[in-house]
Symmetry: C2
Subunit: 161 residues, 2 copies
Amino acid sequence: MVTMRDMRRYRVENCSIERTLAVLGEKWTFLVLREAFNGVRRFADLQTRTGAPRQVLSARLSRLVDEGLLRKVPYQEPGQRQRDEYRLTEKGLDLYPIMIALMHWGDRYLADPEGPPVVVTHRDCGAPVALHLICEEGHEVGGPREATSHPGPGARLTALA
Amino acid sequence: MVTMRDMRRYRVENCSIERTLAVLGEKWTFLVLREAFNGVRRFADLQTRTGAPRQVLSARLSRLVDEGLLRKVPYQEPGQRQRDEYRLTEKGLDLYPIMIALMHWGDRYLADPEGPPVVVTHRDCGAPVALHLICEEGHEVGGPREATSHPGPGARLTALA
DNA sequence: GCATCTAAGTCTAGTTGACAGACTCAGATC
DNA sequence: GATCTGAGTCTGTCAACTAGACTTAGATGC
């Protein structure tokens, strides 16, 4: 059984993290997604709230639509022409754990002394939520020291000298 | 009680996600951290495995040390001079849920048909691990539709028109 | 038809960061 | 001093970001 420490002799050519980063791996995209999770859908609102330059925002929205994380939905204000707003797809919604993880790390290490600026709660009972790493046997896994990485079924490895 | 949908009238000025992204929000930093979690510590290995240009890598390592996510630890190979390697601090290790979340989203939506290239398991029992969003009452929270965001104790909000 | 409106882009020149490749540095060793 | 080796640093080119200005496309009214 090759463990990841042994895997220092190999490089994973099809790393999922790297593929995710190819879609997400820069600030403006994350901020757009943050606002999408906030229910913000329109260009001008996204632009105001993220602070992204309009060209950057346009490019990111286009990319996120192409990648299937956002979809365009036509809307029309009275007296105006039809326009599109942007909504999260299921694929986009599944980014939620990433957003929560980013927020909670920031809450812990970078927030002001008064505490977190935003609290996420369970809608049904009102209790604050947290991410837990749990194995299929139901054990709580406390962190990387209690976890082990192995090549998976799709592993494509390149040997290093 | 102001909910996040009401909070579309406000912008959070001290957003934790945004602060996290100021440290992390680009590809090379994430890839360096990925390798740090893999136990890779030395400049040349980090450079080979991430593919980062050396100048980029040097700048990222320096930044991550300044931000307290990595620390330098001196080492010396026989016949060579003393050098530094880079290890994760506790603050850096706490990024683990982010890395797992990125990996699992990529596994689901971007991996090859054969399946994930890397499987993370619980060290003690060998079962695969997954992130779960759980509230303090112990309920499983399935996703954003079952969660609500509120201003927290540190909230600094700016009204929008 | 023309003018006006408004939100969603697109354009442009300057700035900043990434990039490839070459080069330098700093101790240990002979 | 010469050689070695790993960890950077340097440089000119290219790509992306940025601020600000401008354009576009339908609806509406005259």
